[in-house]
Structures are given as structure tokens and as C-alpha cells.
């Protein structure tokens, strides 16, 4: 079914089609429409789910943990302050190996109060073990929720589907709503082998000393790495069934590119017409949109970037005292590589500062002009 829907509703549709069984969520701008539509879907009987109207995001995640531990497919969504409030229990969901899927709308962190887009909220959960998909279109949001369950339930790890506040969450776009039956075929009912079961009583998460804790962490890392392959596989399978294939990254005019722009989410989307325009002018520029940020696709990035002339990474997030996260991690991934290209790091669009095509172009052009990065990150468009 073709529809024009907003990004937030794409999350709701994704949850509906995935047959989420329990939803626990708490309102926050710009996420409210996700929950409102799900409330209505439940009220209308379109969605047969338990809806827990919790008193905070902290409890939203805790309730999700309980439901998931009991074996139910569980969905939630939040943003910024709400995500941050979940931090402890995000770690919990990972350690408890619960395949929860959560939508997060990227909004800049307070204070000062703000509601506009920035990735610092989800970036600052990069060390919690949640897998993270950064989307860049309404269609991809919906599809990613379904794919997220498919991966999550194989590696027993939680997945976050991330979208820009307003720029994606409140933008209406054409979207194909897949048939339920096809989705059911792609994503069958989940039987959690480790669920709380009165017929197989076990305690989960008991005190663990230095004797075995280390090994349990190692298992998480291995499964996280395994999810890299799964994202590729399930993305291919998705393509075969629904005509839209997804991978760890999306490349554009990359093959012969000298200068490669690496970014994510809506900035990477806006970059496409810029690449087109510059290509027409004869510049060999190309694009990598990083879609899966956790696990970071280090191998793939090495393969794609080794030997390029120049790479610029554009981050809509900042780790104070370091740099943008995509820049930092791309550098880390390409370290130890023989032909590692010089890499420029740009910060752009924090707090919802708009990043139109000309700003993207500025960054590419500045990079093309310079011989070597100065070492500092470059804040584009600060009023100075």
C-alpha cells in the first residue's frame, strides 16, 4: 500500500507490521506521534498489543525489559532527554540480552531546552551495546524497524532505529506499507529460548565475579560482530522480498571517487544532489552514508576508503573534548591501514541548524582546497 506518512508514523507502522506484542512508551517531543498512533492502533484493534503507559522513559525501558524477558516482542520509542534517562537500563537490556527494538528521534540535549535535531543523544549511548541504525528516509524508517527485529532476535541484542527530529520525524513522504503477510514471512513469530519460564526456572543476571564476567562480555562482543553479517544478510533478504535492499552503509557514486564524503542520516541524504551537481562539474566526489553505526562497520569502511585521496566526515553530534563520533570512529577504523587517506572532520547542524546543499558543498570544496587537515575539527557555520 502506498501512503504519504510522517517519519514518526513510519516507526508506528514498523511496529505494527512487526506485530509488536508489548509497547511501553512515554511522550516527548518530537516522538509523541509514534505513541499516539500506536495508542490509536491499539484502540482500533488494528494492533493486538499490551500498551503500558509508564510514568517515565526510565520505566518505559524497564517495562520493555520485563516484557521482552517474558518472551514478548517489545517496542518503544523516545528521544534525547528520554533516551538519556534510560541510560542505565539501556546497559541492562544489553547485558540481559533482550532483543528490544526502540525508535529514537535525534534531538539535541538540554540545557538549554531545545527540540531540534542533533545526534548527540544517541551517540552518547554508543557504549551501551545497543545496535544502532541511522535512517535517512521515511521508507527506511519503517523497513528498518522490521529488519531490526530480524537481527535483534538472532543475536539477542537490542536495536535502536534512529531518525532526525523534524527533518525526518515530521516530514511526510511517499512510503510503501508492505503487506502484513509478507512481513510475517520475513519476520516469523519469535520464540525466545531464554525467556522467563515457570517450567524452566532460572535466575537471570545474578552476581558474577571476575571468574566469568569477562567471558560474558566477550560473548556480547562476538555477537555484536556477528550482527554485522546479519545486517547484510537480512538486508539482502529484505531486498528480495520487498524490492528495497539495505546494507551497513549506502554508497553513492563512490567507485571512482577521489574525494569521499562520509556522513549519516539526513545530511547524507541532502549530500546526494550535491554530489550529482559536483559530478556534473567534473569533480570525482562520492558518498558513503553510514547506516549501521553500532557495530561500526570498520572492515567495510577500510575496504571502501583505503586509497582514496581525501575523505571528509560530517558529524551532527559532538563528543566534547574529542570530535564528532563518525569522524572519530572512521579514523579509528582506518588506522593501521597502509593507504589511509587524509581525513577531515566537520561538525555541522547541531541543535537543528539547517544543513542545506550549499553548506554540504562548502565542506567538500574546503576539503578539496586543503592539502592536509589541520588536525582540528571544523565547525561549519558557527556565527563568528
Amino acid at each position: 500500500m502506498q501512503k504519504v506518512i510522517m517519519g514518526n508514523h513510519a516507526l508506528s507502522w514498523g511496529a505494527l507490521l512487526s506485530r509488536a506484542e508489548v509497547i511501553a512508551a512515554y511522550p516527548i517531543t518530537p516522538q509523541t506521534e509514534v505513541v499516539e498512533l500506536l495508542s490509536n492502533m491499539c484502540a482500533d484493534g488494528d494492533l493486538d498489543a499490551q500498551f503500558i503507559k509508564v510514568e517515565s522513559e526510565h520505566s518505559a525501558m524497564a517495562a520493555s525489559m520485563g516484557a521482552s524477558a517474558a518472551g514478548a516482542r517489545t517496542f518503544t520509542a523516545t528521544s534525547a532527554q528520554g533516551l538519556a534517562l534510560m541510560h542505565e537500563v539501556l546497559h541492562w537490556a544489553t547485558g540481559a540480552r533482550l532483543p528490544i527494538v526502540m525508535g529514537n528521534i535525534n534531538r539535541a540535549m538540554a540545557p538549554p531546552w531545545t527540540i531540534w535535531t542533533e545526534q548527540t543523544d544517541s551517540i552518547s549511548e554508543r557504549d551501551t551495546g545497543w545496535l544502532q541504525i541511522y535512517t535517512s528516509s521515511i521508507q527506511e524508517i519503517l523497513d528498518s524497524v522490521i529488519q531490526a527485529y530480524k537481527v535483534a532476535e538472532q543475536v539477542y541484542l537490542p536495536v535502536m532505529v534512529v531518525l532526525d527530529s523534524f527533518v525526518l520525524s515530521h516530514t511526510n513522504e511517499n512510503c510503501d506499507i508492505p503487506d502484513q503477510s509478507k512481513v510475517d514471512a520475513y519476520l516469523p513469530k519469535f520464540e525466545n529460548a531464554y525467556k522467563l519460564d515457570v517450567n524452566k526456572p532460572a535466575a537471570y543476571g545474578g552476581l558474577t565475579g571476575p571468574d566469568w564476567y569477562y567471558e560474558l562480555r566477550y560473548k556480547i562482543q562476538k555477537d555484536t560482530e556477528r550482527s554485522l553479517d546479519l545486517f547484510v544478510e537480512t538486508g539482502k533478504e529484505f531486498g528480495e522480498m520487498f524490492g528495497r535492499e539495505y546494507g551497513l552503509v549506502e554508497t553513492y557514486k563512490l567507485d571512482d571517487a577521489d574525494t569521499v564524503l562520509v556522513s549519516s542520516a539526513s545530511i547524507a541524504s541532502t549530500a546526494r544532489p550535491v554530489i550529482d551537481a559536483m559530478r556534473e562539474e567534473g569533480h570525482k566526489v562520492g558518498l558513503i552514508r553510514v547506516r549501521v553505526f553500532r557495530p561500526f562497520p570498520s572492515d567495510l569502511m577500510r575496504k571502501l576508503l583505503e586509497g582514496r585521496k581525501k575523505v571528509l566526515v560530517v558529524d551532527r553530534n559532538i563528543s566534547f573534548g574529542m570530535s564528532g563520533a563518525f569522524y572519530e570512529e572512521t579514523k579509528a577504523a582506518l588506522y593501521n591501514v597502509k593507504n589511509s587517506p587524509p581525513m577531515w572532520g566537520y561538525i555541522a547542524g547541531l541543535g537543528g541548524r539547517d544543513v542545506p546543499t550549499n553548506v554540504v558543498r562548502d565542506m567538500i570544496e574546503q576539503t578539496m582546497k586543503e592539502d592536509h587537515p589541520s588536525g582540528d575539527i571544523i565547525w561549519i557555520g558557527v556565527k563568528k
Partner: protein, 303 residues
């Protein structure tokens, strides 16, 4: 032998509780009442340790260890998950200490209660943060010494009245109980099992190291708490109707305080102050119980 409580043992020996631990006793009783078709969740508390280290467990039922502040709502989640999967007939129990209930977990509990989610919440109250080495909680009674309320600055706030707070949430059933009165405790749990909605049980559980008392008198102390009216046993139905579970003649408060190191520093005057507070609260309860008589009489009739 005549068993006054169920013979079935769901909890096993070998757990890590200290000698004479009231919290261990409480669990033993609770599982007798609840039986094996029970799923539990524990926030951080002594029971996170008592149950045993990975890969062992003592409770004998599925158990989800959870973050300190989340017990009630994790139970809500478990219930919703079971409901979604059509699994009925399982007791979902949040089992938490006083810190996890009165302090850091009160918000999640308040939310669960407001939604009236169908769970049983059991707070075993040892009146301080024991697992971390005896720090003050808001359940610590007035006058007690903990590591964060040293003798010169003993606890100056009254014990938070959690039963009243829950009652103000219009909770269908809340009851206090004690490890010294297992029959009463088990009866209350059975009642809690029989009704829908959020049920709250508040259990006084002696803690020898925390109370600085001898392990062998753990049950005696719990009994004295009731007999001196320091910890009355009662129920509140529908958030409004009070019923005393027993109304023993009052023993001198010092019987209860003397054997406990945590009260050793109190002057006679201070003990008298404490006594007054206890009496005041007790007579308030009696008054409320009196007021509630017609309700329970009516209830009996309809039975």
C-alpha cells in the same frame, strides 16, 4: 507433625544470607504461599546476593535480576509479556528491599500502582540499605544509627509511612506482615494472589548485622516489633479500609530497642519520644480500623 504453613519448600538451602537473616525467612514463607508458578524480579538488594552467584540460584522460580529503581515496572512488563503470550495463572512478584521501595523505586511503584497492573509487590523491610553496608533509607526508623547517620547525628526523620502512601494510591490491597508471624504473612499473600490489580506487602525482616543484634533473636525481635506496636500488622483494602491483623497488649518499647545496637545511644527521653510517636500512629490505625468496621462487616455478609 502439624504444619501451620505449607510444607512445600521452593527456596533451597545454601543461599548467601547472613546467619539469622529475616529476609531469607521472608522469602522462604513467600514461596511457600506463591508456589512454583511464580516469576520474580529483584532490584539490587541483599537478595541480589543471597540468591547466589552466577550460575546458581536459590529461589527455585524464574527470576529476573533488575536495576535498583525498576522492580515494580519490570514486574508490570513481565505481566504484560505473559498476557501478550496468553500465559495466565502465573504470579508476577516484585521483591524488593526498603531502599528499593521507599526510596529509589518509589516512582516505578507509584506508576505501577496507578495503572493497577496485576502484580504482587513485596517489600522486605530491614530498615536500611543493608547490601551496601547499612546506610540510612527513608524506612530507617527515627533514632536509629546507620553508617550515614552516626550516633551524634542519628536519624532525625520519621520512617516513611509507605503503607499510607500506597493507600493514598487507592491500591486494592496493602498489608504489613512480619517474619515472626508466618501464618499471617502467608494468609495475606494468599489473599493477594486471589485478587486482580496491584497488591503491596510490607514485611518487617530482621537483619542481625544491620540492627546490631544477635542472630538467634531475629524472630524474637520481629515479634517484639509487633508487640511493642513499633510495627503493627494490619491491612488496608481499597486504599481506604483498615483492619488490624492483631492487636496485642503493648509491651515496653525498650524490650524491642535494648537488644539492638542501632538504638543503644538513645537517651531515656529520646526513647520516650519514640514511644509517643509509635503510640500516636497506633491509635490512628485503631481509629481508622474502627471507622472501617462497617465495610468489613458488609464484606463478610456478601461472602
Amino acid at each position: 507433625m502439624k504444619y501451620t504453613i505449607p510444607a512445600q519448600e521452593v527456596m533451597c538451602s545454601g543461599h548467601k544470607a547472613c546467619q539469622g537473616c529475616g529476609a531469607a525467612l521472608a522469602m522462604r514463607y513467600a514461596l511457600k504461599a506463591l508456589g512454583p508458578r511464580t516469576i520474580m524480579t529483584f532490584p539490587a538488594c541483599c537478595w541480589s546476593v543471597i540468591d547466589g552467584p552466577f550460575p546458581y540460584s536459590a529461589v527455585g522460580v524464574p527470576l529476573f535480576h533488575t536495576a535498583f529503581e525498576t522492580a515494580a515496572v519490570v514486574a508490570s512488563g513481565i505481566r504484560a509479556g505473559l498476557d501478550a503470550r496468553g500465559e495466565k495463572d502465573v504470579n508476577v512478584v516484585a521483591w524488593a528491599g526498603d531502599g528499593g521501595t521507599f526510596d529509589i523505586g518509589i516512582q516505578a511503584l507509584s506508576g505501577t500502582t496507578e495503572r493497577n497492573d496485576n502484580i504482587i509487590y513485596v517489600c522486605y523491610d530491614n530498615e536500611a540499605y543493608m547490601n551496601t553496608g547499612v546506610q540510612r533509607s527513608s524506612a530507617t526508623p527515627w533514632g536509629a544509627v546507620t553508617t550515614t547517620t552516626p550516633p551524634r547525628h542519628f536519624k532525625k526523620e520519621r520512617k516513611k509511612d509507605m503503607m499510607a502512601i500506597l493507600a493514598a494510591h487507592s491500591i486494592p490491597y496493602t498489608a504489613s506482615a512480619s517474619v515472626a508471624y508466618p501464618e499471617d504473612f502467608i494468609k495475606k499473600l494468599n489473599y493477594a494472589k486471589s485478587i486482580e490489580g496491584t497488591k503491596f506487602l510490607h514485611i518487617l525482616a530482621t537483619c542481625p548485622p544491620g540492627w546490631r543484634s544477635a542472630p538467634e533473636i531475629a524472630v524474637q525481635l520481629a515479634k517484639l516489633a509487633v508487640q511493642t506496636h513499633a510495627f503493627p500488622l494490619y491491612e488496608i483494602h481499597e486504599g481506604r479500609y483498615f483492619k488490624m491483623s492483631m492487636n496485642p497488649a503493648k509491651k515496653p518499647l525498650t524490650d524491642y530497642l535494648k537488644p539492638q545496637g542501632r538504638f543503644r545511644h538513645l537517651t531515656e527521653e529520646q526513647v520516650a519520644d519514640m514511644d509517643r510517636m509509635i503510640d500516636e500512629r497506633y491509635s490512628y490505625l485503631l481509629e481508622q480500623a474502627e471507622r472501617s468496621k462497617p465495610y468489613f462487616d458488609a464484606k463478610k455478609e456478601t461472602k
